[in-house]
């Protein structure tokens, strides 16, 4: 009998499942007995799992590329006429492929993390491997027995069904894999947290070991959400980028929880506090990430993202319940060892800033969760479904987000332990003055909405804080080393990547906030029906309808309106919003939005319909500052990667404090660094 791709893929998945199962046992037993051989077996098992899942994934990619229509998954998600990049995107456009991708990502990250920390965290690594591989067992079980990407067709068709038209977009090539990568990589810090808990090693070692993975997950979840927003804006054609749709909510919630986590771990590392809270946060993040994976791929809640329907619901529910119960049980069992070693000292301090940051972030996550499940709750309680739409989230989350934005400006300026009045005066003067000037400028420019002015001023304040923190570090370096400005910047960042990368992230958020606030408060919109030659004026733009074209290329028929656009009565150019109908998906026309970006504002045009009398219906929207959202997103990602980049900076020179010149000047900025870093304390 001939060996087919399906056989190879299934065999690889079964091998991975067996290896993962063995790894769980070997890891748990090895951790209990401390037996070196068992621990190594568990580790090698984790490597085998990663290898086997990679083989299965490779098989599926090969099946797609060779148009192997004996596989049902290939038939449902690709066709011969598709361009090659979309064929690869088909891999994760359905439930089975997404889950395989998830399992692959977690197995690879786990293998890397286990390899890197095998010696350093010997006391807990067995449990860590057991937890990580137990997660893999669940996904591999689903992939092998419940929802396999290698299910066969009874009769092999000549061509496949093709990709859902909404997914025919560049954004779709990277949005799902980014988000899924983020979801999956949360599994690494979760496994280490649980491993530390089971082993009773509740100091901050596991956090330091997984700092990069947590940041990595954070960056990818963030990128996934931003790309999702970008895709919605460019493809869905309703003029916005964030609709508080259940799937969007379930993608932003783990990100919010993880944002809280990456802040609160600093308190534990620095002051030995919030140990239970940090554990709880990472458990919550992981559960939300699993739920996100499940919701986006199960169709359990109706949303624009429901591309797939399935029967895996009960399995995911059982898995989530196991995770929650198991984690809480472990947490309760180890509660005595999680006592904080230090106490809060001052109300106005970095610690309390982080605490308030966490309360707000978790509050936003909770409100979002609440809004997402409320329709279900309402139906259960009184039999009527209630809609919880964007207005709810704007009003409930809006104020909390504003608070968070303010705190983003305040927090980095607060010293640890307890602030003195002198310190506060010195650090707050410049950022506050900048924010004050910005507020005045806004008032002079004619902005009247209090909420908008507050939010924009808060964003400016946060950006000014970042700038002043950078400047403080740069100036200290220039003074102590005699460096010029640019080398000082470079060395400053290289010295303390986590910190200055984090500040860049804050700057990115400030830009995003300006974009979101401006476009929420100052969007203009017109909705018109135009005959040929008819025109529409919105803001400083005038649009004149010239005609409609109807073209069929390949399996796509596109209808496009030609409009002459002129600004302030200047020379005109043609813009062409349209709609595309794909063969096999005629009832689902895709919108082709025309977006013209001018001076930080978007003119957003959607062709909503056309009549037999030669008229068109057109929606024209002016979205101010939206380009800043994408720009801020790029800064945010750069910041995240500066923060997690593993470059070895010159070591700190150990100089007795008393021999330093001025007090208040940071140490370790000396020009001639000595040998490699030495373990401190």
């Amino acid at each position: 009998m001939e060996l087919t791709a399906a056989d190879l893929g299934v065999a690889a998945l079964i091998a991975a499942l067996v290896a993962a199962g063995c790894s769980v046992l070997a890891g748990a037993l090895g951790a209990r007995s401390g037996d070196e051989l068992l621990l190594r077996a568990a580790r090698n098992g984790a490597f085998v799992v990663a290898g086997m899942i990679a083989l299965a994934a490779g098989t599926l990619v090969a099946a797609f590329l060779t148009h192997d229509f004996s596989l049902a998954y290939v038939v449902e998600h690709s066709s011969r006429s598709m361009p090659v990049q979309y064929i690869i995107a088909s891999f994760y456009s359905g439930q089975q492929g997404s889950l395989l991708y998830w399992a692959l990502a977690l197995s690879v990250f786990s293998a890397i993390a286990i390899r890197a920390t095998f010696d350093r965290l010997r006391q807990m690594i067995g449990y860590v491997i057991a937890v990580a591989m137990a997660i893999e067992v669940f996904f591999l079980y689903i992939l092998t027995f419940v929802s396999s990407p290698f299910d066969r067709m009874l009769a092999i068709p000549a061509d496949g069904r093709g990709l859902n038209p909404l997914l025919y977009d560049q954004g779709m090539l990277i949005h799902p894999p980014m988000l899924l990568l983020g979801y999956a990589s949360v599994g690494v810090p979760y496994a280490f947290a649980m491993g530390a808990l089971l082993a009773g090693r509740t100091d901050a070692d596991w956090m330091r070991a997984t700092r990069r993975f947590a940041l990595f997950a954070w960056a990818f979840l963030g990128a996934g959400n931003l790309l999702g927003a970008w895709w919605a804006y460019h493809v869905l054609g309703w003029g916005g980028y964030w609709g508080w749709d259940p799937v969007e909510n379930s993608a932003i919630m783990p990100w919010l929880a993880l944002t809280a986590y990456v802040h609160s771990v600093m308190v534990q590392q620095r002051r030995g506090m919030l140990k239970v809270w940090n554990m709880a946060l990472i458990v919550a993040t992981f559960c939300l990430a699993v739920q996100g994976t499940f919701i986006v791929r199960s169709g359990v809640i109706s949303s624009v993202h429901s591309f797939a329907q399935s029967t895996i619901g009960p399995y995911f529910f059982a898995f989530l319940a196991t995770v929650v119960i198991g984690s809480v049980a472990a947490l309760l069992a180890r509660l005595p060892s999680l006592r904080d070693s230090e106490q809060f000292e001052g109300i106005v301090s970095r610690e309390s800033g982080f605490l308030l940051n966490n309360v707000l972030l978790v509050g936003i996550a909770f409100a979002t969760y609440w809004g997402t499940i409320f329709p279900v709750l309402s139906e259960a309680v009184r039999g009527t479904k209630a809609t919880v739409g964007p207005p709810f989230y704007r009003q409930v989350n809006g104020p909390l987000l504003l608070g968070l934005l303010l705190l983003m400006g305040i927090g980095p300026l607060l010293p640890w332990r307890k602030a003195t009045a002198t310190q506060l005066r010195r650090t707050f003067v410049v950022p506050l003055a900048v924010a004050g000037v910005a507020t005045t400028v806004m008032a002079v420019l004619g902005l009247r909405e209090v909420a908008a002015i507050l939010a924009l001023a808060a964003a400016v304040f946060a950006a000014a804080t970042v700038a002043s923190e950078y400047w403080r570090g740069i100036r200290a370096r220039m003074r102590s080393t005699g460096e010029w400005f640019l080398p000082a910047v470079r060395h400053l960042i290289a010295r303390a990547r986590p910190r200055y990368g984090g500040y860049l992230v804050h700057l990115g958020i400030a830009f995003i906030a300006v974009g979101v606030v401006s476009s929420s408060f100052y969007q203009q919109s017109r909705d018109v029906t135009l005959p040929v030659g008819g025109s529409l004026t919105i803001g400083r733009y005038t649009l004149t309808y010239q005609g409609l074209t109807d073209r069929t290329v390949g399996d796509a028929r596109s209808v496009t309106a030609q409009l002459a656009l002129s600004e302030d009565g200047g020379p005109s150019r043609t813009v062409s919003p349209g709609r595309v109908f794909f063969q096999n998906f005629n009832d689902q026309p895709a919108t082709r939005v025309a977006i013209e970006t001018e001076r930080l504002e978007d003119l957003y045009l959607v062709l909503t319909g056309w009549g037999d009398d030669g008229t068109i219906s057109l929606v024209a929207i002016i979205n101010p500052m939206v380009p800043l959202i994408w720009f801020g997103g790029v800064i945010l990602l750069v910041g995240a990667f500066v923060s997690l980049w593993p470059e070895r900076a010159p070591a700190i020179q150990r100089v007795p404090i008393a021999s330093r010149g001025r007090a208040g000047q940071p140490l370790g900025v000396s020009p001639a660094p000595s040998a490699p870093s030495q373990p401190f304390g």
Partner: protein, 185 residues
């Protein structure tokens, strides 16, 4: 000028005095949190004050934003590009032009499509729960934190930095961050 650089241990002499002077951390944190929430709620107060003599276009759009497009997922009638939403926008305009009020128009759509046509849960009856629960949860969290922080007696060991000591502690902090950054690399 040269700031006094004290070894950490000797500074704790000042510690006991400072401990007594310190107010319970919890109370103030709770107060701070409540004040923050009060401040945060300001923006949501002013929203009701609109309507009246705005142009029909603008009023139609506002009403359309409050209604859900029945055949789309999570889009308002104002935002949806679907044909049904286009028709509904037409109906809203007609009704406005014939002199109907916002409330009458909204009631008309609720009668035809049910309460779930509203984009946000009504602020009366059962659905009030949707609105207050998040804020109640937030208040409860802050109250809990305040209680927890106040309950614990603070140990006397780490001294409160006096203004004199502040530059020194700042140096410690800066150094710590550098060491920390090294250690986790």
């Amino acid at each position: 000028m040269s700031a006094t650089i004290m070894p950490r241990a000797s500074a704790s002499v000042a510690g006991s005095r400072a401990t007594q002077r310190r107010r319970p951390a919890g109370n103030a944190l709770l107060g701070l949190g409540l004040a923050a929430i009060a401040l945060l709620m300001i923006p949501s107060i002013g929203r009701a004050a609109s309507g009246g003599d705005m142009p029909v276009d603008e009023r139609a759009r506002q009403i359309a934003q409050e209604l859900r497009c029945p055949i789309c997922e999570g889009l308002s009638v104002a935002d949806s590009p679907s044909q049904l939403a286009v028709q509904m926008r037409g109906v809203i305009r007609e009704k406005l032009e014939s002199g109907e009020s916002r409330d009458e128009i909204v009631r008309y759509f609720v009668q035809r499509y049910g309460e779930s046509i509203l984009m946000e849960p009504p602020r009366r009856g059962f659905t009030t729960v949707a609105w207050v629960a998040p804020y109640l949860a937030l208040l409860a969290t802050l109250a809990f934190l305040g209680w927890k922080l106040r309950r614990k007696p603070t140990p006397a060991s780490p001294p409160v930095p006096d203004d004199d000591l502040a530059p020194y502690l700042e140096t410690v902090d800066e150094t710590y961050e550098l060491i920390h950054d090294e250690a986790i690399r």
